[in-house]
Amino acid sequence: MTTLARDDLTSVARDDATLRRFLHGLPGVDQVGAEGRAASLATRSIKTTAKAWAIDTAISMVDLTTLEGADTHGKVRSLCAKAARPDPSDPTAPAAAAVCVYPDLVATAVDALRGTDVQIASVATAFPSGRASLATKLHDVREAVAAGATEIDMVIDRGAFLSGRYLQVFEEIVATKAACGPAHLKVILETGELATLDNARRASWLALIAGGDFIKTSTGKVSPAATPPVALVMLEAVRDFRAITGQLRGVKLAGGIRTSKEAVRYLVMVNEVVGDEWLHPALLRFGASSLLNDLLQQRHKMTTGHYDGPDYVTVD
């Protein structure tokens, strides 16, 4: 792979057959070995100063998310306040990286976050299923960007991917990227539906070649969502893509990450698999809702020395 030049990479998508040969020519992933490596990384013991650093770093990487049918303007405003100032009692707690909402609530978030550095992410492209015409998906994206979204989280067409229509998936990502304009594009692979680690690797490369700024594990609506072996494979893809192209692309781990312990383990994995360049919100995000409060409780524990309770962080 190291012999591939940047030009070769874009040319692999010239037709379906070539793209398939490229994706299926990637080295296989041995599931048992990948799970073993992920489990081994999870035994790292992160204590004291390292833990304090990791918790603050994780807070700064949270895409604080609400993606419910019952979402309202009030809910989103409350979420934005939390993202901008997660711990009202402690101004040293960092702000979250972004809020993540449905397109129709982007304007509310823009309004609520004016004057902060918190980014506004919006899911689009008929999230979470992706089952709509391309025209509808792109319209969804343009509306969100027009309303002020700075980041777009798109879903790939898993049906097309699983039936081997890789070029269709590729072209949708390219089109979505174009529709994003200046907004960053995160490509949700929904690895829980792709089922195998080989597929997670292929989908990662597909999204990276097509121009996704981030690859993202999951919508959060499908189980399993983010898992350590999947994260490992996606990080390896980002690492190898950089080796070929020199470009740094981000990874967003989303769905099912609820505890500080899990978040810190992912930071360890990122540190050891792709290196500490990626330990920055520009290249690593956690898509989560309840995770933030657990990080804050752990942060209280680090500063006070006592275990915290759920009544000492805000419910939003």
Binding site: M1, T2, P27, G28, V29, D30, V32, G33, A34, G36, R37, T43, R44, S45, I46, K47, T48, T49, A50, K51, W53, A54, T57, E236, L267, V268, N271, E272, D276, L279
Partner: protein
């Protein structure tokens, strides 16, 4: 920068005592030999004093073992013997962390390995053979196979407790009694195992544990009251034992050295192969008889694999064995360190290219940085001799035939690794490799149910699994 803060396991957990005694005929007492200090190889500080056995202790231990064999242990049903072994298995599980810390202190291996591999695998070994004790008639050796008698067992320092378990569990399950000698540099966990055996209330003399040096090992090997010798250690000593026991009628099993080839084909799952290479040679600082010390990589992916390997090695954490984040600990002894240095110096002198990741080694203690030699040829000493340290020799091949020829081009034959996503190739390679264990798309896997042992100068006899019973049955 994400700097991991120190995460030391408390050494208090080991319940280290000022002195340890040998275990003979159900009692702890000072041996007739010298009292020696066992040291922590990570800092060369003494850990405890051990009252070593003398030749007279060997005699007493053999007599006690004989008495137990002719007496209560020999008469006991398999089911009852099994329950004693289950007790030992459970006690090892219960005192797992204590044993892990003790093992890391005495041996120098990372706590991550002693905690996650050595100790649980030792417990599992007792658990597995416990279950055989009342089922020997189903093991394929006839309807009512008999034990051999008194087994003399001499074990190495690389997996002190685990090797004791590999030796004692099948011997007792089959109805033998044992006299076991742990290595001189790592006696502590075996002597705590003696405590566990005493607390499990095994009849006196069933298990005797003698700390001591080579002369005690020799006394065991030569003792006329012993019916069977089981030895794990170097090929040189194994040959001496085979000569010594010649004509004595003693049964013998040997688990000796190795120079395993770890063969990576171009269609391998490369990320996992890199992990397997690392695990193959840096697990336990490479002080493993089945270590994958020769990497044979197909030329078409050699550069890519070596680059990935170097990048991965840069993340290995070398340091205090008790730190939970340590990947590579200390070398077990000054003697072993000298041996590693001699061979690696020879490798550099013979023209191989030497590389180590940047890592700071502690000032005191026995330390050796993970090392990779590229541009190695078959004629180099580092491609032929067992280094028994964290040193990998990389060779390349072009075809499967060449891989097989190079892999088999050694007097050893303990283990081998094959990395390819093609199932038929795995089976073809497995059938052509002259090695007792072939790992495919994994390396250094051990399980009580799986037989382990070598071809050629790597020894004979198998430990583990149903086959491991044969070493302790009169068949």
């Amino acid at each position: 920068m994400f700097e991991y803060a120190p995460a030391p396991e408390s050494r208090d957990i080991a319940r280290l005592k000022p002195s340890y005694q040998i275990f003979v005929d159900g009692r702890f007492r000072d041996g007739a030999g010298e009292a020696i200090k066992t040291i922590n190889p990570a800092d060369e500080e003494p850990l405890a004093e051990v009252a070593e056995a003398g030749p007279s202790d060997v005699d007493l231990a053999v007599k006690a073992a004989r008495k137990a064999f002719d007496g209560p242990w020999g008469r006991m049903s398999g089911a009852e013997r099994g329950k004693y072994l289950f007790r030992i298995a459970r006690a090892i599980q219960e005192r797992g962390r204590e044993l892990a810390v003790l093992e890391s202190l005495d041996n120098g291996k990372p706590i991550r390995e002693s905690r996650d591999v050595d100790i649980p695998t030792a417990a599992a070994h007792f658990f597995y053979y416990a279950g055989w004790a009342d089922k020997l008639g189903y093991a394929g050796f006839g309807p009512a196979p008999k034990p051999i008698g008194v087994a003399g067992q001499v074990i190495p320092w690389n997996f002190p407790l685990l090797m004791a378990a590999w030796k004692i569990a099948p011997a007792l399950a089959c109805g033998n009694t044992v006299v076991l000698k742990p290595a001189e540099t790592t006696p502590l966990s075996a002597l705590v195992l003696a405590e566990i055996i005493a607390e499990a209330e095994l009849p006196p003399g069933v298990v005797n544990i003698l700390a001591g040096g080579p002369s005690i090992g020799q006394a065991i090997v030569e003792h006329e009251g012993i019916d069977k010798i089981a030895f794990t250690g170097s090929t040189d000593v194994g040959k001496i034992i085979q000569r010594t026991t010649a004509g004595s009628g003693k049964r013998l099993t040997l688990e000796l050295g190795g120079k395993a080839a770890n063969i990576v084909f171009d269609d391998a799952p490369l990320d996992q192969a890199v992990e397997g290479i690392v695990n193959g040679i840096f697990f336990n600082q490479g002080q493993v008889c089945c270590a994958g010390s020769r990497l044979l990589v197909q030329e078409s992916v050699a550069d890519e694999v070596i680059d990935s390997l170097k990048r991965r090695l840069a993340t290995l954490r070398v340091g205090s064995p008790l730190d939970k984040n340590t990947d590579v600990g200390a070398i077990n002894s000054a003697t072993q360190l000298a041996r590693i240095r001699e061979l690696t110096d020879a490798g550099a002198a013979e023209g191989a290219t030497r590389w180590s990741p940047p890592c700071e080694l502690p000032e005191r203690g026995f330390w050796f940085a993970p090392t990779v030699f590229t541009d190695v040829s078959q004629a180099h000493r580092i491609a032929q001799e067992e280094i028994f340290g964290p040193v990998l020799s990389v060779l390349t091949f072009r075809t499967p035939d060449e891989a097989v020829a190079k892999a088999n081009n050694t007097p050893y034959g303990l283990s081998a690794g094959v990395w390819t996503e093609k199932g038929s190739r795995i089976l073809s390679m497995a059938s052509r490799l002259r090695a007792g264990v072939v790992w495919a798309n994994t390396f250094n896997r051990f399980d009580p149910t799986a037989p382990f042992g070598g071809y050629q100068e790597s020894g004979f006899g198998r430990e583990g699994g149903r086959h491991g019973l044969a070493a302790y049955l009169d068949v």
